[in-house]
Symmetry: C2
Subunit: 602 residues, 2 copies
């Protein structure tokens, strides 16, 4: 039973420690810490989507159903008729999807006539929803702050009323930086159960949202399994499924087929959808001299359609109707950057920025319908050209949350593009981007496997966190400080437990020093037992730290601009006494053990 | 014969293609490229230390000996007496180092009385050396530019006259960003042959310099093997060996033991040495309230010594004599940051900047002796606090090249610190840092193995290159553009060959699409054969790209500040005709193959 591994936390020192308040149970993970020499340590608590996990065929409980019903503004209805073509031509031929969802299903909900059921609508009316309260507890801020940010369009809570299984979370510059993991089958490979497994795996390591980018067969059935088992918001790119319905021929797409597909997905519970409505006909020629043309699949579908018909994009032309649909289910827009650069050569060019400006206009139209919006961004951008992306997005899109793919800062390292993109991601997030779409080591080369998904998620978690630290997000650096304190005190098990990836951290330590005594030893494999700088510093502090302060040699605030040697020489007086005391104590700043005494030497 | 793997290039499309000019042979690697649809591609040439490689027990030929002799300013002499303690107490007990170098050896050289034999001295006198010419060819700049930068102290060519095997290279902000890989045994593990193997392995993947940080037994013998086989400059931290000579008791260190160790290493040919002369007695108390104290081994040795004796550092007190010694052999200082922060909490604090300011004073004193200098930097620094490090270094150290370890931008990801540090490294290099010391995935956890060394080197190559792209270094982006062009044209073998790590790139591609036809297929595993955005873009360009330009729809320079829809609508006229033509051609922007036709479907 594959799901069993999710029932346990990722390290024995981790435990489920929810915040329970006002009838809400908001998951957090508590990390148990060993004692410091100076006394016990409080457990360190971190934000984490925990689950819950169920048998995949049962699906998760409906956390939010009561909240949604209690508002009295939605109605169940029969919904769109299920169509075998929803699962592609192979399903039509076969007469069924290959692994149809058979768990419990609900009639779809939609807003009652004249009602606005989006979190933005409530926020603008001054109402604090249960979702906002939940988010506020997770983010350790006031519900009012959440409401204000959502009302202003600076943050979104992607929560389709037909995905009540999800734990509310928020995406916005004022909150913790979030990350998205992509999953999804393709024409070349993979099964439904594998996709559910990837969803759970990505979430286990910290994905805040998951996009199902399936492009192969059984798209509807796959998505149903994913939604019914997902505690995080699910995003999609509906044009992928629409394209499958017309057998991959972009010019055969119509607004009607697209709209029907959107409604199908709204009823299933997709929380946000990428729509490339900014790829307008006149922008297509702007890409013709690019080094890498159009690299977004959605962007190239729409570009191909526009050219074939010589018509303005049906997404652009029908954007208001789309807003009306999204508003009925509280689906959020992720306004897609179909003309994003696919190489550093094409970064920040006319095509990219023409589209971004149009996206900004569409964003404001969506807001007229109280529809939540985030804005997608690049892609491939050299380090020095990143920040202008945040600035233009802020300026043109009214502060809507920015959601970027990396960006990769160089093109020369396929196989390492989780890293080339994490460099860009950390920078763009530090500059204001709210959510980062992960990139795995397989980017540009192949489909990610389980290990790649984990590597992508962990890499993006560290990039997002480093941005939170750089932004001075309240409490962000506490995690670093807890780790550094554990490191300084040689609490090895705590270092593993506090790591984003405890099992990898411990396995690396085991490679050099596998014996259990090494996990409590006051040295590490870098220097060995005879000499260790951390040990020396700790001994210096243990013996002299407080006295140094007492003797008038505190860690004074060194003014780097004006300081000179005389600033510092005042500190010397007390040291004379200390030196004597130090010698008397036997100068035991070094472990005097011979290598034979050390746990690792055999 | 392990060395055989180095005789071949890292990909079949790579070949040794030296620049041959004025009797110099400067290694470069040519990457053979397949034809584009529009015609053949010139081989793409990249900077790479190639070797040459010899049997480890023979050592490399002495590339520079003739140049050094021709200057007539050095003399051979008997040299310091070899002492078994050079290899530690175990060697004394045993009566020999465990694997003494038995290859050819030369009498050491030193400057004749009254002669200054450093590259800086020549540069300041207006002389362009063979080393500078070699460097200029490697960097594709004028020899005069090299001379100017070295004369000004803004760049160094670390080239001990006793390490004639090395290929000259330059470290400075005006040149390609370089990376260093650390190797070295420790008390816990590893053998001499392993260290030579690590040197070669690191160099194969692109390390520009290598530091031998051995702290265990047989330090002298290990270093001899390394130097005699190294085509790149070798750096050391001589206090590590000095500490071994006093059995790991820092307070037993003396200036005399240290000086003798430095001379020993100068005679062997070490090209640059880390000296923590900026760790002054009055700065030690500044670290007592830090979260992670002193994390530099050299820094903590000196701090321990200063406190035990209550004396100013013997390195600081005897700095001028050290300069005189370095000048005789053209050894460069790497002025060590013994008080660098070991956690983001301690970044940019009083201790760190007090030391940096002192280092700046020492730098200028070294320049008085024409000794080349670079400056070491942190460490652990949040993203938003990185750039001030470049600024202070520039301001206080007169523009001497900055050489940083990362910095890591967060502490919470042990096991992934090659990535947390690459984020900082790319940023600090883009801001002016000249060389980056790599960090492997094992940082803080264990000793790197072969795979870790490779991962560390590749990660730092991509960080360094992304900085060069950001700085607009002449020609840097050409590599990205060559890759992107290959990507756009589905030249898969070229993509692998152009990657920093061809074997990993190809193996990832093989995982999803192993068949050879997939390597020439016009699609990738992400989308499969039925739909591919790159393919669509290419077809659009193939069919319409030139005509779009001809029809008055060029990639006009889009003014992002002032543009509006009317700027763009002018471009629409010509499109009507194109749309018709597109339909007539059968709208073949999509491959109509069924999945069964694709090479991967079986």
């Amino acid at each position: 039973m594959a799901h069993d591994i999710y029932a346990q936390e990722i390290h024995p020192k981790h435990s489920y420690a929810p915040i329970v308040k006002d009838g809400l149970e908001v998951p957090e993970t508590a990390i148990q810490l060993d004692d410091s020499p100076t006394g016990p340590n409080e457990p360190f608590k971190i934000y984490r989507t925990r689950g819950p996990w169920a048998e995949p065929e049962d699906g998760l409980p409906s956390l939010r159903s009561e909240w949604i019903e209690a508002r009295g503004d939605v109605e169940a209805y029969e919904g769109r008729e299920r169509n075998l073509l929803d699962d592609g031509r192979a399903a039509v031929k076969r007469g069924a999807a290959s692994d149809e969802w058979r768990g419990a299903s609900r009639a779809p909900l939609r807003a009652k006539d004249g009602k606005r059921v989006t979190q933005m609508a409530y926020a603008r009316r001054g109402e604090i929803t249960r979702e906002m309260e939940f988010v506020a507890l997770r983010e350790h801020c006031s519900p009012e702050k959440v409401r204000e940010e959502v009302a202003a369009g600076r943050a979104i809570i992607p929560n389709n009323i037909n995905h009540p299984e999800s734990e509310p979370m928020i995406i916005g510059n004022a909150f913790l930086t979030k990350i998205n993991a992509n999953i999804g089958n393709s024409a070349v490979t993979s099964s439904i159960r594998e996709e559910v497994e990837k969803l759970r795996w990505a979430t286990r390591w910290g994905a805040d949202t998951v996009m199902d980018l399936s492009t192969g067969d059984d798209i509807h059935a796959t998505r149903e399994w994913i939604l019914r088992n997902s505690p995080v918001p699910i995003g999609t790119v509906p044009i992928y499924q629409a394209l499958e319905k017309v057998n991959g021929i972009a010019e055969d797409l119509t607004w009607e087929i697209f709209r029907d597909t959107v409604i199908e997905q709204c009823e299933q519970g997709v929380d946000y959808m990428t729509v490339h409505a900014g790829v307008r006909l006149p922008y297509v020629p702007l890409t013709s001299k690019r080094v890498t043309g159009i690299v977004s699949r959605g962007g190239s579908i729409m570009a191909g359609w526009c050219l074939a018909h010589h018509k303005e994009s049906f997404l652009y032309e029908n954007f208001d109707e789309l807003c009306e649909i999204f508003a009925k289910y509280d689906v959020a827009f992720s306004l897609g950057d179909g003309l994003r650069p696919g190489s550093v050569a094409d970064a920040n060019d006319a095509a990219q920025f023409a589209e971004l400006k149009t996206i900004g206009e569409l964003c404001k139209r969506a807001w007229d319908y109280d529809v939540q919006v985030m804005i997608e961004g690049p892609g491939h951008v050299p380090l020095n050209m990143i920040q202008v992306n945040n600035e233009k997005e802020e300026q043109w899109c009214g502060g809507a949350p920015f959601y970027t793919l990396g960006p990769l800062v160089t093109d020369i390292a396929p196989g390492y593009d989780h890293i080339t993109s994490a460099i860009g991601a950390a920078n763009i997030a530090a500059g204001g981007t709210a959510m980062l779409c992960y990139v795995t080591p397989k980017e540009h080369l192949g489909l990610p496997n389980r290990d790649d998904v984990k590597t992508g998620v962990i890499t993006y978690k560290l990039a997002a966190h480093s941005a939170d630290v750089a932004k001075g997000h309240p409490g962000a650096r506490d995690w670093d400080d807890a780790m550094s304190k554990a490191r300084f005190e040689f609490r090895w098990h705590d270092q593993f437990a506090l790591s984003l990836d405890p099992e990898t951290a411990q396995s690396y330590h085991d490679e050099t020093l596998p014996a259990e005594p090494a996990k409590t030893a006051h040295f590490c494999s870098m220097c060995g037992p005879k000499f260790c700088s951390m040990r020396i510093s700790q001994d210096i502090r243990d013996e002299f730290g407080d006295q140094i302060a007492d003797l008038g040699m505190p860690t004074f605030d060194f003014d780097v601009a004006s300081s000179d040697a005389s600033d510092i020489s005042e500190a010397r007086e007390g040291e004379r006494e200390m030196a004597q005391e130090f010698r008397e104590m036997g100068s035991n700043v070094y472990l005097k053990e011979t290598p034979e005494d050390s746990p690792s030497a055999q």
